[in-house]
């Protein structure tokens, strides 16, 4: 093949098309999204976009939460934090319990109650951080969401 013919075709670099990139990243799972943030600076900036994480959080929620949820979550710390602190552990624990024999299924459908529970825990977490920032909290750094971080032996 002639090298000239090849050079005439425009080279496609996904970094030039941020919207396509976002569409792709939107479909990743949490871990992959975090890994993708390490690829390059552009990807890092995009991965920080909260809408990606919003999609990740409530992708499998049925029914999907109303739009009024967004300002609350943003105010309490954003979707990325919500995912890391609440949604990921909640889903993994609830999913493990329900889909006992079906471990390769990644999709976990969760109900409005689960969403509500995660939001409540997220709110409690925000409240506790308020207390610690205000200087009134104790230095031990305890958090009421610590129980979510501890490994569960299932």
């Amino acid at each position: 093949m002639e090298g000239n013919v090849k050079e005439k075709r425009p080279r496609f670099c996904v970094n030039d098309h941020v919207d396509i990139l976002m569409e792709i990243l939107k479909r990743l799972d949490g871990r992959s999204l975090c890994v993708s943030a390490c690829v390059c600076r552009l990807w890092c900036t995009i991965a920080r976009n909260d809408s990606l994480w919003e999609h990740l959080c409530f992708r499998h929620a049925s029914p999907p939460p109303s739009s009024g949820v967004r300002p609350v979550i943003v105010a309490l710390g954003g979707y990325k934090r919500l995912y890391m602190v609440c949604v990921r552990p909640v889903l993994s624990r609830l999913g493990r319990l329900r889909i006992a024999g079906d471990s390769d299924r990644d999709r976990r459908v969760w109900t409005r109650d689960g969403v509500q529970l995660s939001l409540s825990l997220f709110c409690v977490d925000y409240y506790e951080r308020l207390g610690r920032l205000g200087g009134g909290g104790d230095a031990s750094g305890g958090s009421s969401l610590m129980f979510l971080c501890k490994p569960v032996n299932v």
């Binding site: 109303s66 009024g68 949820v69 300002p71 609350v72 105010a75 309490l76 552990p89 909640v90 624990r93 609830l94 319990l97 109650d113 689960g114 509500q116 529970l117 939001l119 409540s120 825990l121 709110c123 409690v124 925000y126 409240y127 308020l130 207390g131 205000g134 009134g136 104790d138 031990s140 305890g142 958090s143 009421s144 610590m146 129980f147 979510l148 501890k150 490994p151 569960v152 032996n153």
Partner: protein, 620 residues
Amino acid sequence: MKREHQETIGGAGSSNGNKAESSSSSMATGKGKLWVEDDQDAGGMDELLAVLGYKIKSSEMADVAQKLEQLEMVLGSEDGFSHLASDTVHYNPSDLSGWVQNMLSEFNNLPSTDLDSSILLSNNQDSQPSTITSLDFSNNSQSKVFVDDSEYDLRAIPGVAAYPQKEFDKSNDRKRMKLTPDGSNTAPALAVNSLQSSNSSCSTSSSPQAIMAVSGTLSEPTRPVVLIDSQETGVHLVHTLLACAEAIQQENLKFADALFKLIGPLASSQAGAMRKVATYFAKALARRIYKIFPQDYYLDSSYSDTLEMHFYETCPYIKFAHFTANQAILEAFANASRVHVIDFGLKQGMQWPALIQALALRPGGPPTFRLTGIGPPQPDNTDALQQVGWKLAQLAQTIGVKFEFRGFVANSLADLEAEILDLRPPEVEAVAVNSVFELHRLLDRPGDIDKVLGSIKAMRPKIVTIVEQEANHNGPVFLDRFNEALHYYSSLFDSLEGSGLTPPSQDLVMSELYLGRQIYNVVACEGADRVERHETLAQWRTRFGSAGFDPVHLGSNAFKQASMLLALFAGGDGYRVEENNGCLMLGWHTRPLIATSAWRPAAGDSQLRVNSAEFELPSQ
């Protein structure tokens, strides 16, 4: 027939001759699960029982069963307990037929040289005739007293004839050696017997004559307790704790003191939750015996708040309380545009962020949320209530809910009057009253709780949410309280143990201390100092019912949320949510530990309408 035979073994074996209900739960659950099938090996040992550690020939089962029934009758009828309480020699119950025979012969004073030695020998793998445990009681007709001259001097056993002193001296030299007839089992049994180096050397090689001679007297060896395994020690520990409590109840403080000294070594031989519970109860008993009453329980509320925060983080009880109460309040506030919550114990206000957030996400938009928090006076005059209120206000502002806060300091809820609270009429504002672990403190003075219930009615709430411990720690008899508390806190500590935290975690220690302080209060304090006067849901139901409240059923949403919450906790399969006539109870395995209930003033109470004249309508 076989079924009841098995249960008899379970009952007698695990209780070791004492009340079955006080045996440690681990034994009961361990044995209870296996009574399923009945397939037995015809010729050899019964397989099912062998799994549990009991060696019985299948052919002897019927005989042993009969003897166990006899034994149960004998123990039930006469005062065999004190006999056993001081008898510090235990037989190895692994060889069940030998054990039961020995127990029976002790009671019946039968000459037992012709013990079913054939049976014992046939069980014994090594078939050493010297290993018979034979008790020849024929020389001695009074067999009730065992005087133990060891450092645990338990001579003073009420109601039993005194043992003549001279015979006691003779008996010092004769150590009655209890050997297990099952030679193969000797090593592990005696290995656990750490207190008796001399007795452990009594191997299977002793001659029969020596043993026969020894068994001529009834006196005890000078060293106490041949402990076979820690399950037995656990049972023994519980019995000693209960015996000590009983002694205190009977004002026999000297005896209580002697028993108390026994508890230490027993407790340290246990592991995990049992050891911690026993230690706390022992310390509480010590406070009661020696009359040490540190006045620290309710003075330093910031310290107890810190402990409670650690308890909040470690285990789901308080979270369960908050979530279920919030759900009930949320449903009651369904269409109101102004809501007002009165919290009888604000503490750190951990309950309210979740409610504020749920109100913010309400389909029709958030209402105006007023919160009135009530708290105890602070020793250093800081305004803890205002600080909490400020934090909540910040949160509310962040998520866009209009918020007002007022704090009231009160020594006791009975000091509160509905008028001070600046309530608006129910058409304008929906009121909810919330009390998490607060009402039981009022039960010391009988008029207080009625006054508070009356005030609650005067507030005309739409809903009253109550969360209380599910236990009766307020009975008039100390021993009953002690018994209840022992079981209740054992379950609680078990659940903490199962929470999957690595042992040296500070959270775990603080949570245990939080519970420990409650134990001290229940056991060691009296009168106005004893504030942890827990009562059961049934008792609260009666109180609320007679005070003119109707129950409100907590819906299935609350149940689902609670179940989901518990599933998140490590050890989540140990926690159980139960629904009890519209109330929700959270428990550990089969034992309910806290209960949430909701109430509203009974409909058609005409007195309420009279009060509406007192309130001015707010200017809009």
